[in-house]
């Protein structure tokens, strides 16, 4: 096989994979419009007071969540980056956990800590103050901050870590004051990451499903995403679902365009961070203040995990584990998540390898560039078209052709797979691109093609990020509620679905136990997969 044929095969496979993902996404949206009748008039929709209220609340909660997450992340990351405490890396690892934790488990944990009978409320009651009401905007904000403040903090710390080591040395040598360090070094670094981080968080909060489903209360606290789901699941009003979906897609498209303009890539920054050595010596008061900020921030993020552990252990775990429904749900979850992660990984890597094959050594052509951009867009389109909307489309389409329940598992796996693609592409892509720049010419001059090239050049470069990506995709699917919420039933139920049912029927102890099981399996899944891959690397090395 010549390198030219090899290149063609790679590009062909990548385009096929991208078309598959694209077809699934577009199919879902197209199904919405064909099955549900004509696309409604957007202007008319925006005059509907009900829809306006929902749109208003969607923007309000997303805006406030973003502002709070960013405002709290800034002092925390600055303090963490400046302070000399040991265990910085540990804190950064803890801050990675909310992104892996099933959202439903996080929402339950927020209720446990901040709810009416939660730790904070009991403390307030003891002081003679009113208890907190976690349902509605307050709870949504707390939960969104719990999930997104750590994300913002990691992006900020990563931004500070990108500051050249010489800048910190200069700051030390020139005896710059804390204010001067902020003005000259920290603020310029923040200014580069904050717009992208804010846009990313805003987008995540606009399309946030689980948190609003659990903590949102009634029509006063409903978002577009939830309204789509309710229109299908409860009212069965496809017309309204379609109208809401159209508004949602328009909104996310706008935000994504803004995000891409504001930051280089709103989803970047997966490092563990806090690596820089600094030489500015803070005064004792300042060091103490930094320590306090770090402790408070860490407690805020760690407390829900502790809550899950404590209340979960109090539940009757032995009975839960032997329960048939729980066992079946756990096995279903495992099967769905592994299938979704594998599918997602295969499709993403085929697309990524095509992108690299299209990256020329010499001059670029317009056609190649356009194809590359098209491929990249296909992997990220799910950010605009949310899983609930795709699910809604396929739900309406399949209902006409076949038994929805029979097709449900495949649709859920497919939705979970496309959901993970933007993450996989961003975790694995840079490593593959680096391998291409470092070894691409050498591989071509040696005539390495096909499996040999894969084994000697591409796979070694991807192995570690691949492990992280697979673990991330599996965890994302394992904890997902968005797809299963529409397609779930007593015959096809995953752990998050079962957990939602138990929460709905006020079986609090059961819910706590299930949350612990769900959280523990997710964390274990990530740890094993990551270790398995990195371990095998050490054996072969």
């Amino acid at each position: 096989m010549t390198t030219r044929t090899d290149r063609r095969i790679r590009i062909g496979l990548g385009i096929a994979a991208a078309l598959l993902a694209l077809g699934f996404l577009i199919g879902g949206v197209a199904a919405l419009s064909t099955v549900g009748g004509a696309v409604p008039d957007l202007a008319a929709l925006l005059h509907d007071p009900y829809i306006r209220a929902i749109l208003g609340f969607t923007l309000l909660q997303a805006g406030l969540s973003t502002a709070l997450s960013i405002i709290l992340a800034i002092p925390f990351s600055l303090a963490l980056h400046r302070s000399r405490i040991s265990g910085k890396r540990l804190i950064m690892r803890l801050f990675l956990l909310p992104q892996a934790l099933p959202v439903l488990v996080g929402a339950l944990a927020v209720i446990t800590i901040w709810g009416q009978n939660g730790l904070v409320s009991r403390g307030l009651a003891a002081l003679g103050l009113p208890r907190l009401d976690v349902y509605g905007l307050t709870g949504i904000l707390i939960a969104h901050v719990f999930f997104n403040m750590p994300l913002a903090a990691r992006l900020v710390v990563a931004g500070l870590d990108r500051v050249p080591a010489e800048s910190w040395k200069l700051a030390g040598q020139l005896a710059l004051s804390p204010l001067a360090v902020f003005r000259l070094i920290e603020w310029p670094a923040l200014r580069r990451v904050l717009p992208g981080a804010a846009a990313l968080i805003f987008m995540l909060c606009i399309t946030s499903f689980t948190i609003v489903l659990v903590l949102g209360g009634g029509p006063a606290a409903t978002t577009l995403e939830i309204a789509v789901y309710q229109a299908l699941r409860y009212d069965f009003d496809p017309g309204r679902a379609i109208g809401l979906s159209v508004i949602q897609i328009a909104l996310t498209t706008l935000v994504l365009i803004a995000a891409l303009r504001l930051g280089r890539d709103p989803m970047g920054g997966f490092g563990f961070g806090a690596k820089a050595r600094r030489f500015d010596s803070p005064s004792p008061t300042r060091a103490a203040l930094d320590g306090l900020i770090v402790v408070i921030g860490t407690l805020f993020v760690a407390s829900p995990f502790v809550a899950i552990l404590v209340s979960g252990l109090a539940a009757d775990l032995a009975r839960l584990v032997t329960e048939v429904a729980v066992r079946r749900a756990a096995l279903t979850s495992l099967a769905v998540s592994l299938a979704a992660a594998t599918l997602s990984l295969v499709v993403s890597i085929l697309v990524l390898m095509a992108i690299e094959a299209l990256r020329p050594a010499g001059r670029d052509s317009a056609g190649r560039r356009a194809t590359r951009i098209g491929l990249e867009t296909a992997t990220s389109l799910v950010l605009v078209v949310s899983p609930v909307i795709i699910g809604a489309g396929w739900f309406l389409l399949l209902r006409q052709v076949t038994n929805v329940l029979a097709a449900a598992p495949y649709v859920v796996v497919a939705i979970n797979a496309v959901m993970a693609m933007p993450f996989i592409v961003r975790i694995v892509g840079p490593a593959l691109a680096e391998a291409q720049t470092h070894n691409g010419r050498l591989a071509e001059s040696l005539g390495l093609t096909g499996l040999a090239r894969l084994a000697f050049v591409d796979f070694p470069a991807m192995r570690q990020p691949l492990a992280l990506a697979f673990a991330f995709a599996a965890a994302l699917s394992f904890g997902d509620l968005g797809a299963i919420a529409l397609f779930g039933s007593n015959d096809f139920s995953t752990l998050p679905y079962l957990l939602l049912q138990r929460m709905g029927s006020y079986r609090t102890a059961d819910a706590a136990g299930l949350a612990l099981i769900l959280g523990a399996i997710t964390v274990a899944l990530m740890a094993t997969v990551e270790r398995g891959f990195t371990g095998s690397r050490e054996r072969t090395a």
Partner: protein, 251 residues
């Protein structure tokens, strides 16, 4: 600085039995640099040249031993408290500040500069041949110009000891030789003793014209030190001639 007779001036830098473990290599340094001297540090990568400078500047803390600058023990002092200036290979300038601000940072971190300070900064820029460059941002300057700005700041600070970590490594041969001449001129402080220079270099020929002595580092310690011509002739130590590639050349 007190005006002292050169003969009685304390040594500019003394590294006394300093030990430091770096990535599995145990390093041990003993070094005395006289006031007004120009010392070049050469040796293979990983030998500890930059580590030695970082220890002297206070960016790394020794596990054992003392560091004295101008006769004062600075081992426990922070980088800011040590009377020296350091110039790195790159990233010497803050990318979003113009040349004037970057130099002015050497004397004040404040936004406002006094008329006196302004004049001093402008003189420093002129001294490195960059009149009219005050408003340029680092990205609007060439690599050589950026290093000139860094030198302007280092000398504006009027510290008796200048540490340079491969400052001209990224520049071409002609430009490098220009920069060395500039450095030689800058360190002459009218009447007073010239500033002491310790410079890491990968180009032994950088040392020939200006350095008084050359220290050859290998595997985390100073393997040989002596007058420049003797050291670079290859006669001093077979390890140096091997490093310089003389054996293959002479055969």
């Amino acid at each position: 600085m007190t005006q002292t007779n050169a003969a009685f001036a304390p040594d500019a830098l003394v590294v006394d039995g300093v030990e430091f473990a770096h990535g599995g290599t145990a390093m041990h340094f003993d070094l005395t640099v006289k006031a007004g001297e120009w010392l070049a540090l050469i040796g293979p990568s990983g030998a500890g040249k930059s580590t030695l400078l970082d220890l002297a500047a206070g960016f790394l803390a020794p596990e054992r031993g003392r560091i004295l600058i101008a006769g004062i023990d600075v081992t426990a002092l922070s980088p800011a408290e040590r009377p020296l200036s350091m110039v790195f290979q790159d990233n010497n300038l803050f990318a979003h500040l113009d040349a004037f601000r970057n130099v002015a940072l050497g004397i004040t971190p404040r936004l406002r500069v006094s008329r006196e300070q302004r004049r001093a900064v402008e003189a420093a820029l002129a001294a490195v041949g960059l009149e009219g460059y005050a408003a340029r941002l680092p990205r609007q300057m060439s690599g050589g110009e950026r290093q000139r700005v860094a030198l302007a700041r280092a000398f504006l600070r009027e510290r008796p000891l200048i540490l340079l970590d491969e400052p001209f490594a990224a520049l071409g041969p002609a430009l490098r030789s220009d920069m060395l001449d500039l450095l030689a001129a800058l360190r002459q402080r009218n009447g007073a003793q010239p500033a002491t220079v310790v410079m890491v270099t990968h180009h032994p020929e950088d040392a020939t014209a200006n350095a008084d002595r050359v220290a050859y580092l290998e595997a985390g310690s100073i393997a040989a030190i002596g007058p420049t011509t003797a050291m670079l002739s290859g006669a001093a130590d077979p390890r140096i001639s091997h490093y310089l590639g003389m054996r293959t050349k002479n055969v």
